[in-house]
Symmetry: C2
Subunit: 504 residues, 2 copies
């Protein structure tokens, strides 16, 4: 391999290191930092982001990309070399479209808006928050306009979506999420029409926090994650972040009155960790060292959480340990009761507390409103009413105040339009992958029953994780499941599980 590719690799490695350092500063801020450090930390994070960005948009990087492209001309499309140049080139072109001033203004306004949002949500004061929201939407519209004529972008919302789902268009997502919505709504109605209800009382009570910590650690240790490559810390809003593929920080929240958080949120975040931990060494310190998209990332958190962690074999095996740790609550509970509690379906107002079926309706509401905002068909001021009417229509619920409605999520305050749909896309992809995995691993159920999660982990590592971002999301999905994104497997799996529990 020629010298220009090596130079390119070195430059991209530096850019990667700067991003990872930033991730550590961010993790530290959310889990370890003394409170007084907030202001100085914000400056440190901004400095690292700026330096990283300047290096990313540098003319020299463009020249290196040109020179390296010529060197890798004969390499296969999915080789590390060809993929590196291709993916880095796309990132470089996107980054250079946005003037530094606009980018800085978005960061500044979003930071203020996020801060303000905390108070306005607390007081359910949408009118107070509206100027912030209008400003950030206006800036995001200008951001999108920077991509006029960019290859593949047709819709005003495409550039926003592409930052999270490279190569995915608004039209495609619209089709997928509409089909999902229209498949989920009758399922929810059928469940609601059943007499009686599913009891999840065992998950509520008083749960000792030390015992919850023990459970959470055991749960992660039981997953096929490299034993000395992760740690688990408490935080306010759970997340997982990889300082490198062998240095992964999982965080969770421990609710003294509800066990579900410590259990399934930990499996969810550990699913993200499994993906990062499985990235091939040859991709480290490069832009290929990540899943192809947020939906792919989310597919793995959701697969491990829902199809493994809320599945009957896993819960059957877990129950004796729950009895040891929290005897009172689980003494009289059987495996079937636990399985039913873990998969209860009931419309609710808050997305992060929603079950896995109605969750997709929360996403549908947000996605549809986002697209309408960026098409200019909806004004920010009209959001509360649009939110209420859509919630009534899809979830059959009345929104009592904006704190339980349009103000509930931080995403818009942070300017992250285009992010929400990836949650549902991840669910859809997870189901497609799960179908292939269960097909190719006929012993999977009994393995999970026996606590053997390595075969599934190995399969996923080999077929998905190790490839990182070499391929675009669509290409990766085609390679893995042999076809395009498809809602059918997900709807079938949701219906099968609901049928077991609700007898529909």
């Amino acid at each position: 391999m020629g010298t220009k590719l090596d130079e390119l690799r070195a430059r991209l490695a530096e850019i990667s290191d700067l991003g990872r350092a930033r991730a550590l500063l961010d993790w530290d801020q959310r889990t370890q930092m003394p409170a007084a450090g907030a202001e100085t930390r914000a400056e440190q994070l901004a400095t690292l982001a700026q330096i990283r960005h300047r290096r990313l948009i540098a003319d020299e990087l463009g020249a290196l990309l040109d020179a390296a492209a010529a060197e890798v001309d004969a390499e296969p499309y999915d080789s590390v070399e060809a993929s590196l140049v291709r993916v880095a080139r796309r990132e470089w072109e996107k980054a250079r479209r946005v003037p530094a001033e606009l980018r800085a203004e978005i960061t500044r306004v979003a930071s203020l808006a996020e801060h303000a949002w905390v108070g306005f949500r607390e007081h359910s004061d949408f009118a107070g928050f509206l100027p912030h929201l209008e400003r950030i939407i206006e800036l995001r519209r200008r951001y999108a306009e920077c991509f006029d004529g960019f290859e593949g972008f047709e819709h005003a919302y495409d550039p926003l979506l592409d930052d999270f789902e490279p190569g995915m268009t608004t039209a495609e997502v619209h089709a997928v999420l509409a089909e999902l919505r229209d498949g989920v709504r009758p399922l929810v109605a059928e469940v609601a029409a059943q007499p009686g209800s599913v009891d999840d009382f065992c998950l509520y009570g008083e749960f000792d926090l030390d015992a919850q910590q023990t459970l959470a650690r055991e749960v992660v240790a039981g997953l096929p994650l490299q034993a000395d490559a992760w740690r688990l810390d408490p935080t306010v809003h759970p997340f997982a972040t990889a300082i490198s593929p062998v240095d992964i920080r999982i965080t969770t929240r421990f609710d003294p009155g509800y066990l579900g958080t410590a259990l399934w949120s930990v499996i969810h975040e550990a699913g993200h960790a499994l993906y990062e931990n499985g990235l091939a060494r040859e991709l480290w310190r490069s832009p290929l060292c990540s899943p192809p998209s947020l939906a792919f990332h989310e597919s793995q958190s959701r697969m491990w959480e829902i199809w493994v962690g809320r599945g009957r074999p896993y819960l059957e095996r877990l129950l004796p340990r729950l009895r040891e740790l929290f005897g009172e609550n689980f003494g009289a509970v059987g495996a079937e009761d636990l399985y039913r509690a873990a998969n209860r379906i009931e419309p609710s107002l808050i997305r992060v507390e929603a079950d896995q079926v109605t969750y997709n309706l929360h996403i549908a509401i947000r996605f549809e409103l986002e697209v309408e905002l960026f098409e200019g068909r909806l004004e920010p001021a009209e959001l509360p009413e649009a939110w209420s009417s859509r919630t009534a229509e899809y979830l059959g619920l009345e929104v009592p105040d904006d704190a339980s409605g349009v103000l509930q999520d931080v995403h818009w305050a942070g300017g992250a339009f285009g992010y929400f749909p990836t949650y549902s896309l991840g669910n859809v992809i997870a189901a497609q992958i799960w179908d292939v995995a269960t097909g190719e691993l006929p012993e999977l159920e009994s393995q999970i029953s026996a606590g053997e999660l390595a075969p599934l982990g190995d399969w996923l590592r080999d077929r998905l994780y190790r490839h990182g971002a070499k391929l675009m999301p669509k290409e990766m999905l085609e390679k893995l499941v042999g076809g395009p994104i498809d809602v059918a497997p997900y709807l079938r799996q949701l219906r099968e599980r609901a049928a077991e529990i609700y007898g529909i």
Copy 2:
């Protein structure tokens, strides 16, 4: 103020942020990081160091320094503006003297040598370690040669010393440390000649680690440190590091069989923290945002540890709490017994375990050998013999093996020649400052007895901490104590305390 100074500030702020980010990555590595992350962390640290260094030596920074110098021409010498330009200029000039290749080679060789040292110390194998040591000394000689003709440098060891004690020469340090050595040796002899011995049994036993953690946290919380600006974590080799003046990480080691570590090492590191926490806000994110030198930094860790934390008033107040936490060991111990135990003097082989008197003889040995190495009067291969003979002479002890001798410290493996003397210089300066403080704060003893440490903290903050590195160490000392460095106060204080305990 003109535009060029603002530009300079912005550039220096970025350089500062990069250094602080690096400090966080380093702290994390030593306290939080999953073991598997070591290799990727090394790369991230190297990247941040390289980027920081490149920005520090940039031609553009030199041009800005010139332009800003003209702007601040009329500012007072000790103004933030004039000091910023002056201190940054000196750092810039020093940094540019060393070729990038040599700097990289030192980093690489020192990293290998530090790693190798662990094993060779374990096996007390000096011969095995020698090639590493020779290589790093050779590189440090070449490093020193880069400063030929640099203003104020006369001795081959001056450039090494200057990296830790700006403006201090080998000749000056030699005079101070020789006087200190020659003052300490007779004191140690007098103590040894006393019949009987001081009993420090109360500090040995079985100390519950949770109770030690509680003690350590209470001890730090009792110091005049901003309450929400620090945290305390366990580590192998205790240190304190400031991610910013309001985000300080104190670390300590908990020894289940010896209470002294958790107690005095924590006060020592918290002394460093107090200095960082007291740096004036107008200095933040600049090269002025630190003590003027390592000796100044060490003066505060030692002052708080020894003159406060091992003093009678402090220990009298602490004793009831020790009885609550570790009843068995302190039930029959009186305040005077504890004071005696805390100030026991006895020559020993290992520097980090030495009492505050004989400690200075350990430093004398290291400093003298370092100077001889860099004067070419001693070859690295001759170190064990030189070490043994000097230990016999100064400490009256036989060195049984190199692990207890020349291999005991990591500093040389890491290439940190010029570092050791700052420990003793810090002791000397601490005593000078303590004399002024006790003179100006006549109620200090009774305040400490009452647990009121804020008056001392306020005095130090006002007179020392807030000024940061605006002045050179000599200038700062002159301003604070009204004279040059002087061993007499330290020798007098050591003798006074020894007299109380040993009746000499």
